[in-house]
């Protein structure tokens, strides 16, 4: 499934190159022939469920583990065989890994001290970093005497102050509560922009990925399924996994009837007439088994149940009010239910009434699926 379209080649200088990297543990393949590049100053997120290989990739780049095959290059060239302490990368750990026996300032200055920077310069750069992170005055504090959010920023500062070629962040917001996490998302992005650092960020939280990143690499089972700008990953998923993993998606199985770029017509057992959607990723040709991907917010409900154009029919099974939008679940067949988000006033009653749901062709895309099992690799 590494057949995702090649990402738009960044024009800026390349900070990190991961070149056909594979990491095996015995029979288990943690990272499977992965290639990508991160440009200078770019914010790239590796997004995927646990066990997809995203953290392994970070550890490969930082040098804690060596790849089974492939090459990893930083500015200065290949770093294969170079120990972590001589690689110009720094990591923000999930548990922060702040040294409990050192103060905030000593933690931030640690990397500079290891690099032999003179004490006066260390002090100056630590002070600047404390200011940047809104931690002024906390330099003398013990690590045990600061809050979780502050600890998070100290960890960031400690990694940032050595001016690494790339900053590797391993679910750095995972330990924070929801509110603080949201706030730190904005702050993190702001800091990254201000200092122009290159961020390679790992998370399983899609909202975090979509909010902060310039590009998102959706990973599954050691592969990159798609590497694109957040909007493209969301609007134009390359395959069923990405469609299903990012946000909520309705997946309607069918077969390609005709292709007329950028549109494609799909015959489906669930619809009386051929359905129309856009072509997103790889080429499809007539006869190919596909899934039509429609986001709930792009699905409209026709309460009269009469619409036939680009519509499927079903019965209202569930209506869930949740503030700004109401979710309407329409049962189309025994194996297919579709969810639509409508404005609260436009929701039908959950009475099993016959309705039609439809979408605009440009709001839906088709992705290829394996012929035998339309729900392959989902959930």
């Amino acid at each position: 499934m590494a057949a995702a379209p090649p990402p738009p080649r960044p024009t800026r200088e390349i900070a990190v190159t991961v070149d056909r990297v594979t990491k095996r543990y015995g029979q288990t393949v943690a990272v499977d022939d992965v290639s990508f590049e991160v440009a200078q100053g770019e914010f790239v997120t590796l997004l995927g469920p646990s066990g997809c290989g995203k953290t392994t990739l970070l550890r490969l780049i930082s040098g804690f583990i060596e790849p089974t095959a492939g090459d990893i290059r930083l500015h200065e060239g290949s770093v294969l065989g170079v120990p972590p302490y001589r690689r110009n990368t720094s990591m923000v750990f999930q548990d922060y890994a702040l040294f409990p026996h050192r103060t905030v300032a000593q933690n931030i200055g640690f990397g500079l001290r290891m690099r032999g920077v003179p004490p006066a310069a260390i002090e100056r750069r630590v002070e600047t970093m404390l200011e940047l992170l809104n931690l002024s005055g906390l330099g003398g504090r013990r690590i045990g005497a600061i809050s979780g959010g502050q600890a998070q920023r100290v960890a960031l500062g400690r990694a940032l102050v050595v001016e690494p070629a790339v900053l590797l962040l391993d679910e750095p917001l995972g330990a924070l509560d929801l509110k603080l996490r949201k706030q730190m998302q904005t702050e993190l992005k702001g800091i990254q922009r201000r200092v122009g650092a290159t961020f390679l960020y790992v998370t399983h939280d899609q909202e975090e990925a979509l909010t902060m990143s310039d590009r998102v690499a959706v990973m599954s089972r050691g592969h990159i399924e798609q590497l694109d700008a957040p909007l493209d990953v969301y609007r134009r998923p390359a395959n069923p996994f990405v469609a299903d993993f990012i946000g909520e998606a309705n997946l309607i199985p069918g077969r390609v009837a005709a292709v007329a770029p950028p549109l494609v017509r799909v015959e489906s057992e669930h619809a009386p007439a051929p359905l129309t959607a856009s072509v997103a990723g790889p080429e499809v040709k007539p006869g190919d088994p596909v899934l039509i991907v429609v986001r709930p917010e792009d699905l409209h409900v026709d309460r009269t149940g009469t619409r036939t154009e680009n519509a499927v029919r079903g019965r209202v099974r569930d209506v869930v009010f949740s503030g700004p939008a109401t979710k309407v679940v329409v049962e189309v067949g025994p194996a297919l239910s579709l969810a639509a988000l409508v404005r609260p006033g436009e929701a039908p009653a959950a009475d099993g009434a016959a309705v039609a749901v439809w979408w605009a062709p440009e709001d839906a895309v088709v992705v290829a699926r394996a012929a035998e099992n339309p729900q392959q690799s989902l959930k």
């Binding site: 302490y85 001589r86 720094s90 990591m91 409990p100 026996h101 290891m114």
Partner: protein, 269 residues
């Protein structure tokens, strides 16, 4: 039951039980303690009048002092060796993926579980290959063998709870392995290292059986005391023994407190 109304029920028998257990532990020790102050030259019940004379005489006895000094430096050297050897062993056991690690951990207590007679005899036979080692050096080697098990176990339990990310963070920030050890492992494991050293020290200081086998002509304090006891029951010995007990119990209590404290710190981290 027997608890007073209005307070939390704390049965009287539990207190009595506790007191009895501690009496059971400490009565023999307390006996020595009391006899150290007995005025009679040949200690025996009843103790009528008290004196501190024996402490003065004991501390002026050249033979006792020499033995005390020998035991002291042997304990220092063997405790140092045991601690220094225990650190890398504990790091390897706690951090590295070693095949058969459970078995290794299982047999690490071997020298402690084996009867000291057997260990002593084994060492004696071994030293026949190098007879020059019999004596103080032999005791140092024997005690190091015993103590390295304890120190490895103590350090292992501390390092097991050590967050690996701290090591990785240090290396990621440019510290070599050695520097990481010095900057991160050593300071954070220091309480455990101190505790291991203190336990090893007290263990060596009072050890008699194994030492007796390999001491040759060297006389550690326990050997000296034992030799004395074969001829006379001198109150000087009681006095010295009392001093040593006070020091040993204090040291080992400190070590225990240290372990408990750092165990709590680890649990919190």
């Amino acid at each position: 039951m027997t608890g007073e109304p209005g307070t939390r029920r704390r049965p009287g028998w539990l207190l009595a039980h506790t007191v009895l257990i501690y009496l059971f532990f400490y009565l023999p020790i307390l006996t020595i303690f009391f006899f150290a102050f007995d005025t009679k030259p040949i200690p025996g019940w009843p103790i009528d009048t008290l004196t501190v004379r024996w402490f003065g005489e004991g501390l002026q006895d050249p033979q006792l002092l020499e033995a005390l000094w020998a035991s002291f430096w042997i304990a220092i050297v063997s405790a140092t060796l045991a601690t220094v050897m225990g650190i890398p062993a504990a790091m390897a056991l706690a951090w590295l993926p070693i095949p058969g690690k459970r078995l290794l951990m299982g047999v690490i207590l071997g020298p402690i579980i084996v009867p000291p007679m057997v260990l002593g005899l084994g060492l004696l036979l071994l030293f026949r290959l190098a007879p020059d080692l019999l004596g103080a050096i032999g005791v140092v080697i024997a005690h190091t063998t015993l103590n390295v098990c304890f120190s490895t176990l103590i350090l292992y339990s501390r390092l097991l709870g050590f967050r690996r990310s701290l090591l990785e963070a240090a290396m990621d920030l440019g510290a070599t392995e050695l520097r990481t050890f010095r900057e991160v492992v050593l300071p954070l494991a220091f309480p455990a290292i101190g505790a291991a050293f203190l336990l090893a020290f007290t263990g060596s200081f009072g050890e008699f059986i194994v030492a007796w086998f390999v001491a040759g002509f060297a006389r550690t304090l326990p050997i000296e005391i034992w030799t004395w006891l074969r001829y006379i029951l001198s109150p000087k010995v009681n006095a010295i023994a009392t001093l040593i007990m006070v020091v040993s119990i204090t040291l080992s209590t400190l070590a225990q407190l240290w372990i408990i404290r750092q165990a709590r710190a680890t649990a919190r981290g």
